[in-house]
């Protein structure tokens, strides 16, 4: 996390508006390898919209995105994936009627020489990656509808792991989970971090943020209030930033 290194991701002066509303209004952020940057703020602060921009789900009106120092164009989810960006969404973004393998490879299916879906190869790869993440995972052939919240989150995370994500966006990854499953996801985040993956973490849970993040970026009404080192602030200071947009003394 030294300043001399090239950041993994750099968002420069990103702007997104819906009609007359400036959902994201000139935000600049960086993310380094092996770092977790938490993105916090009230509802409508613009954090999800900003991340959608990076994920290709909603292109920015202006601004620049750099990956490893290179300017890149991200207009579709496919572009984002090509840059090693994977997203784990709050609402899980899984097709409930399709099994774990089908979801893991959704949009990137393995195919046989004749162009048919190679279900066996996909099932096998899914089993292997899920074994690493969640050894108790068994129901490979059932639609994900019948899985528990934690198991579904495993599928979503497995997708990121299998495709060797370099940059991970997690939108409320623990919102739908119970305590044990939350602990599991936290463990996973630590593991991914140690592998050098950079993670943007969107969260409402201030405890999650303080446990997992290295830096905290606070947004309010589409603008960045400040980015602070976790070690230099208290929870109360962060809450004050979220609620009133008040910068603490030590922030840049």
């Amino acid at each position: 996390m030294s300043d001399t290194k090239v950041p993994l991701v750099e968002l420069r002066d990103i702007r997104v508006s819906f009609g007359g509303l400036h959902a994201v209004d000139g935000v600049t952020l960086t993310l380094n390898p092996g770092e977790v940057v938490a993105l916090v703020g009230g509802n409508g602060a613009g954090k999800s919209t900003l991340m959608h921009t990076l994920a290709g789900a909603h292109p920015a009106d202006s601004g620049q995105i750099l990956v490893n120092g290179e300017p890149v164009t991200i207009a579709t989810p496919r572009d984002a994936r090509a840059q090693g960006i994977e997203v784990i969404y709050q609402k899980l973004a899984l097709a409930e009627n399709i099994d774990a393998a089908g979801n893991l490879f959704l949009g990137r299916e393995l195919r046989t020489r004749t162009g048919a879906l190679d279900d066996s190869a996909m099932a096998s790869a899914t089993r292997d990656v899920l074994k690493r993440l969640n050894p108790r995972f068994k129901n490979l052939n059932t639609p994900v509808k019948s899985l528990s919240g934690g198991q579904r989150q495993s599928v979503a995370i497995a997708r990121a792991v299998h495709f060797n994500a370099k940059i991970l966006i997690m939108d409320e990854p623990t919102a739908a989970l119970g305590p044990a499953e939350t602990a599991q996801v936290r463990e996973l985040i630590e593991q991914l971090k140690s592998e050098g993956i950079g993670i943007f973490l969107i969260s409402h849970d201030i405890h999650d943020v303080f446990d997992l993040a290295d830096r905290i970026s606070v947004m309010m009404q589409g603008r960045l209030v400040a980015t602070v080192e976790k070690s230099k602030v208290t929870k109360d200071e962060v809450l004050a930033m979220i609620i009133m947009g008040q910068r603490p003394g030590g922030a840049n």
């Binding site: 994920a55 789900a57 579709t76 989810p77 496919r78 994936r81 997203v87 969404y89 609402k91 899980l92 973004a93 899984l94 097709a95 409930e96 009627n97 399709i98 089908g102 979801n103 959704l106 949009g107 990137r108 299916e109 195919r111 162009g115 048919a116 879906l117 279900d119 066996s120 190869a121 099932a123 096998s124 089993r127 490979l140 052939n141 059932t142 639609p143 509808k145 019948s146």
Partner: protein, 443 residues
């Protein structure tokens, strides 16, 4: 073809029942599909008894297979449309229009320019019909997918427009007849079937296909060290499949002797077309990316979009496919009538949607199988044909089909939510009402 949509298991019963369930699950047999087969068997048996032994005859079943074909062909496409959370109300009108255009090609356009009975007339007519079907499907599909107009509205418009165009083109609603001799064969009839030995070849191919698909599925799963079905179950399924195919050919196709020639008719061409289309559509829906995307869109449109799927192109594709299938059905129906009439395909949209829905397709999206829809079409046609046999008047037939449609969906919905009592009530009410109507509607 085991379209497995395994329903959720409720593990609150005794051990024996659980073990039985585990056994059923290990066979990967689609329980919903099995339920429909049982329903069909019950319907057939009931009509057979009520009609004093007239229903389960080669002649009746052969006719049933031909009558089911055109609706079943369209139902395979309707499944994909409903699965992706859309609807197509225009299929009946589109079928009528395409049938009329194909008849125009044969009776007016080509004969006026080049004379009658050229060998290529039926091919040109078919190609024109299919190309036009694809094009009109693409028009509707693009307005829905790219224009953002709800499918219900677009196809309601199509329902009116295509029907209206028949009258504009048909010089005050004239009937076009007779059609090209070769084209007529598409509709079945005494000459429009495979004959005895070709039917047996088809049956043999069917057996080989069934065994090969089970074998290769096993081999593939072994290769990746995935769980395979127990060998006896696989062998049992293969034997069962072959027996059903051979019996079907022997009893229905070859067993029916043509009233004109006196020779065994064999499998009718419309049924051959239906079989080919069903296999193609099952392959497309289960083994190709297009099919996977259709189901993903139906299951969670947002997830599909975020997965990088071109959802608009996929939705448009389902409507293009539907247009092509309408053209095929239009060829079957006009060929069978040996003419094109202005009311061709009227109310077909309702039959097609009913077949898909009785076959287990859910309007909530994401759920439905091709083979289920084909079976749904056969169930619908069995009801109709059985009631005709019992001399039940046409309005009463409509009432029964309506009651069956609603109770079938009610049973399905209740079973999905694990409410077995509600399902039982829906079944009982449906049966009692249908029986009452049938009993009082007999003439």
């Amino acid at each position: 073809m085991n379209d497995s949509q395994t329903s959720e298991q409720h593990a609150n019963d005794s051990g024996v029942l659980n073990r039985f369930r585990a056994f059923i699950a290990s066979t990967e047999i689609d329980t919903r599909f099995a339920g429909m087969v049982i329903a069909l068997v019950v319907i057939w048996t009931a009509f057979h008894i009520l009609s004093g032994g007239d229903f389960l005859t080669s002649r009746n079943l052969w006719n049933l297979s031909v009558q089911s074909a055109s609706i079943a062909v369209m139902a395979t496409g309707m499944v994909l449309i409903i699965v992706s959370r859309n609807i197509d109300l225009s299929v009946g009108s589109l079928l009528g229009f395409l049938g009329y255009v194909m008849a125009m090609v044969q009776t007016r356009w080509i004969p006026d320019a080049f004379g009658f009975e050229h060998w290529y007339i039926w091919i040109v007519a078919l190609i024109v019909g299919i190309a036009l079907g694809a094009a009109l499907g693409a028009v509707q599909g693009s307005i829905i997918a790219y224009g953002g107009v709800p499918a219900f509205i677009v196809t309601l418009g199509g329902f009116l427009v295509w029907r209206g165009l028949i009258f504009r083109m048909g010089e005050q609603g004239q009937t076009l007849s007779p059609l090209d001799g070769t084209f007529q064969l598409i509709g079945g009839g005494p000459k429009g079937s495979l004959g005895e030995w070709r039917s047996w070849v088809l049956g043999l191919l069917g057996c080989i296909g069934a065994i090969a698909s089970i074998y290769f599925n096993r081999k593939r799963r072994r290769k990746y060290d995935l769980a395979v079905r127990p060998l006896p179950i696989d062998i049992g399924l293969a034997v069962f499949g072959c027996v059903v195919i051979i019996l079907g050919i022997a009893l229905i196709a070859v067993g029916y002797e043509s009233p004109i020639t006196g020779a065994p008719t064999g499998v009718a061409y419309p049924v051959v077309i239906l079989i080919a289309i069903t296999i193609g559509m099952v392959y497309l829906s289960r083994r190709r990316r297009f099919g996977r995307y259709v189901y993903a869109i139906g299951g969670n449109p947002e997830a599909a979009e975020l997965g990088g799927i071109n959802t608009r192109r996929t939705v448009m594709g389902t409507f293009v496919l539907m247009g092509v299938l309408c053209a095929v059905s239009a060829a079957i129906q006009t060929a069978r009538l040996n003419s094109a009439v202005t009311n061709l395909g009227v109310q077909n949209e309702l039959d097609v949607i009913s077949a898909a829905v009785i076959g287990g397709t859910s309007f909530a999206g994401g759920i439905g199988t091709i083979s289920g829809a084909v079976l749904g079409a056969v169930i619908m046609q069995s009801l109709r044909s059985g009631m005709v046999l019992l001399r039940i008047d046409s309005p009463s037939q409509d009432i029964v089909v309506g009651v069956v449609l609603v109770s079938a969906v009610a049973i399905d919905a209740a079973l999905r939510q694990g409410k077995r009592r509600t399902a039982g009530i829906a079944l009982a009410v449906g049966l009692v009402v249908a029986a009452l109507i049938i009993q009082t509607g007999r003439q």
